[in-house]
């Protein structure tokens, strides 16, 4: 039972990290074009990745 003392906080911490990561993906518009993104990764363009927010 003593293992719960660090396992439960660990579980909660991992959960929060995952949630924050998900919020970030929503905010950066990664769900706006699922079809296009699925295809786009298959075309290799020799260009630097441009962050949309910077433009």
């Amino acid at each position: 039972m003593t293992s719960l003392i660090y396992l439960v906080p660990l579980a909660i911490a991992i959960c929060i990290v995952g949630l924050l990561a998900f919020f970030w993906t929503v905010k950066s518009g990664q769900y706006e074009d699922p079809q296009g993104d699925a295809a786009r990764m298959l075309y290799s363009e020799d260009k630097p990745i441009v962050d949309e927010d910077d433009l």
């Binding site: 706006e32 074009d33 699922p34 296009g36 295809a39 298959l42 075309y43 441009v50 433009l55």
Partner: protein, 757 residues
């Protein structure tokens, strides 16, 4: 669901692309200056950023696959000065950013057209930002509820087993669960609380009232039990309930968002350009949406009327089929009113833009449309119907449980515990998913087949329809004339007529040009509005047009025929030759109607066109009930009559004159080429040139309705098993969790069956 095509040159819908390409190229060849005008009209849509960069959003048509996307991005990026070209394949929107003047937009669109794609500017003001924000916040709420469910459930499994757990450990676990559940409910429960509060404030109930009540009571009870160190807490049930219901909410939202976007795309693709005459007399191209009442506009021959207006200069033949349903052009003079979507055929006109309120016909139409929509808003969705039954039943049950246990045990805590257990376990988890899950799968299926459903309840209404009323021109027929007596015409006469016709947009001329195929155009063609055309060909005067205009037609060569219209050609002094024309039905009109009748639908025809033409079309397509020369009000009257006979009608039409009928019919559909008002009023939009989408739509709607009913029955069945257990006091948190997730899974899987149908 996602099709990935790696080969640039291959496109899954290559045929459509080829057609689009051919159409665009012919349009391009017809009038190069149109392109310059279009480029000028793009400028208002270009946004300039603070850093000096220009940006425009374009709606792309004709792109179907990843190959098209890659090609567009690559080719546009290769243009000079372009910083970014990024296409969204889901919404078919291309964002281009560049450095330099705003006029570069024209070059970008021109390049896209050369590549074979259509591009129209997208008006950012139309962007449903509110809706997108709502979808995002629902997604976030769903994620929070999901994560909390996972966490609490992990701990709950330990508590349920509980054999080695001391009381202190168990209470600690409950406290941790509470610390997770309370903020989660406060955050993720908001959509339900808000809606429930809104309903209660108006002294009504909806599905969100029992949901909110169950969640709040479950949390409150669990906190009470935790404080007193009792073994059962329902934190997991409360949070899972929110999670499952939010999935349903999110699916519903996504569906509405997606169809809204598609409808918007259609509207943007049809947006036209107007030539505004400025005060100094110069002409400037502007988007039609930016025209204000009172503006003077120039409409060249062959152009679509961009906005509603009144002729102030010139006279011409007008193709009015979009407003009246008549196939044949009508002569229009100064003072006549024209409506957007009509086509100016023979001579340039100057029109003055009118406000909607300033015109009796249009204001009458919009009044009728509004009245119809109001009638339709009374429609109660099946989920709400279920909720109306459900809410009182559940709350009575819970109250009875409380009273029963009070009488039986006399213990307040046991009685309230069991009453709350009833509320939790009957909470409409499966009910919340039953309908949206099916509707999302069904409309996704229809979407792929080119049928656009505007809302979930449209599917429900479509499924119940038993009578289908068609408009004729533009719906059953293509709305364009075709040469019907090709066999009687000598090759020479046809070729000469084609020489005169190829440059004109008059329906008769286009029919002749289509029959003769491509070829040369005669020089010095003179067009006489409402009469015909003439030109000098190899020294002979050739006249092509109305009988009176051509002259020299004797009684025996003339005479009455069953053609809709006829034109005559006279070469020099030779005897005139007659050309007969008919508006022909769409290719699959006959099979569609036969199919619909076979499925037991009553099919009717209502048209604003002339009686003789309506009779012919009805006979040809095998429609027994038809009415011709009906006004928009008459169409409404006929729909009301059908309704009073107990029929539920699906109205299919495209013209402005159909809009009131579309709005007031039980369900309605429009072809993609319909007038703006009609497309806005219709529940369903049929894309492509085919009518068979109607069959797909009603069949899918019926299948979907079957699944919805099945799902609701499953939910009821689940409740019938679960409620006695709860009433008798056997429910513990583990049973609640199992029952809830189990029934939700069942309902979702049943909905997915529709996909493989």
């Amino acid at each position: 669901m996602v099709e990935i095509v790696l080969d640039d040159e291959f496109c899954p819908s290559g045929q459509t692309t080829a057609q689009d390409l051919a159409r665009m190229q012919s349009e391009k060849a017809r009038n190069l200056s149109e392109r310059e005008k279009a480029a000028e009209a793009l400028t208002p849509y270009v946004q300039t950023k603070a850093s000096g960069e220009q940006s425009i959003d374009l709606m792309i048509s004709g792109a179907h696959c990843a190959g098209c996307m890659a090609k567009i991005e690559r080719e546009i990026s290769a243009l000079e000065g372009i910083l970014l070209a990024r296409m969204n394949l889901s919404t078919m929107r291309l964002n281009v950013q560049w450095r330099g003047g705003p006029d570069k937009a024209g070059a970008i669109v021109a390049r896209l057209e050369d590549l074979g794609y259509g591009a129209k500017p997208f008006n950012m003001e139309l962007d449903p930002l509110v809706q997108r924000d709502q979808a995002t916040s629902l997604l976030k709420a769903m994620a929070v509820a999901g994560a909390a469910t996972a966490l609490i459930m992990t701990m709950s499994v330990g508590i349920w087993d509980g054999s080695e757990m001391s009381k202190v450990t168990r209470q600690t676990m409950h406290w941790i669960s509470a610390a997770i559940a309370i903020p989660t409910v406060a955050y993720s429960g908001q959509p339900f609380f808000r809606s429930a509060w809104g309903a209660l404030k108006n002294k009504m109930t909806n599905m969100d009232v029992p949901i909110s009540l169950a969640v709040l009571l479950a949390v409150a009870l669990s906190i009470y039990e935790t404080i007193h160190g009792n073994p059962h807490a329902y934190f997991d049930a409360a949070v899972m309930l929110l999670f499952l219901l939010l999935i349903g909410r999110f699916l519903d939202m996504r569906l509405r968002q997606k169809t809204g976007e598609s409808a918007q795309r259609l509207a943007a693709m049809q947006a036209s350009t107007a030539s505004l005459i400025k005060e100094d007399g110069s002409v400037m191209s502007v988007p039609a949406s930016m025209i204000k009442p009172g503006d003077a506009l120039l409409v060249a021959a062959g152009e679509r009327i961009p906005v509603d207006g009144e002729i102030i200069k010139g006279s011409s033949d007008i193709d009015t089929s979009i407003a009246t349903g008549e196939t044949l052009p009508r002569a229009a003079n100064i003072g006549d009113k024209l409506y957007s979507g009509m086509i100016n055929l023979s001579a340039p006109l100057t029109i003055k833009a009118l406000a909607v309120s300033g015109d009796s016909f249009l204001s009458e139409i919009s009044r009728l449309v509004e009245a119809g929509e109001q009638k339709k808003s009374k429609f109660v969705r099946i989920a709400d119907k279920a909720a109306r039954l459900y809410v009182p039943v559940v709350h009575t049950l819970a109250a009875l449980t409380f009273v029963g246990w009070m009488l039986y045990s006399g213990d307040l805590r046991t009685a309230s515990l069991n009453a709350i257990a009833v509320l939790i376990i009957t909470c409409p988890c499966a009910l919340g998913l039953a309908v949206p899950a099916v509707q999302v799968v069904a409309s996704g299926r229809l979407f792929k087949k080119g049928v656009l459903i505007k809302s979930g309840d449209a599917l429900e209404r479509l499924a119940k329809v038993d009578t289908i009323v068609f408009d004729k021109t533009g719906t059953l027929t293509l709305g364009s004339l075709q040469l019907s007596n090709l066999g009687d015409i000598s090759k020479d006469a046809l070729e000469t007529a084609a020489l005169l016709s190829r440059a004109s947009r008059h329906p008769v001329a286009r029919a002749v040009a289509a029959a003769a195929g491509s070829g040369p155009v005669a020089d010095n063609i003179k067009e006489v509005a409402g009469q015909g055309v003439e030109a000098n060909i190899s020294g002979k005067l050739v006249k092509f047009g109305a009988a009176s205009y051509v002259g020299g037609i004797s009684a025996e060569t003339g005479g009455q025929t069953n053609a809709q219209t006829e034109s005559w050609i006279r070469i020099g002094r030779a005897a005139p030759v007659c050309f007969k024309f008919k508006d022909t039905p769409r290719m699959d009109a006959k099979t569609t109607i036969t199919d619909l009748r076979k499925h037991g639908y009553n099919v009717e025809l209502l048209t604003g066109d002339k009686k003789s033409i309506a009779r012919q079309t009805a006979q040809l397509l095998g429609i027994d009930t038809w009415q011709a020369e009906v006004s928009p009000t008459d169409k409404l009257a006929r729909l009301d009559e059908l309704k009073s006979q107990g029929h539920l009608t699906l109205m299919i039409g495209d013209g402005i004159n159909d809009a009131p009928a579309l709005a007031s019919a039980y369900a309605s559909a429009s072809p993609a080429g319909a007038a703006d008002v009609s497309r806005a009023a219709a529940d369903v939009i049929l894309q492509g040139d085919k009518l068979s989408g109607v069959i797909t739509a009603v069949n899918t709607a019926k299948d979907a309705q079957k699944r919805v009913v099945e799902n609701l029955s499953l939910a009821v069945l689940y409740n019938m098993i679960a409620v006695p257990i709860a009433v008798l006091g056997f429910v513990n948190p583990m049973i609640a969790a199992l029952a809830m997730s189990g029934s939700s899974m069942l309902v979702t899987l049943n909905a997915l069956r529709l996909k493989f149908h």
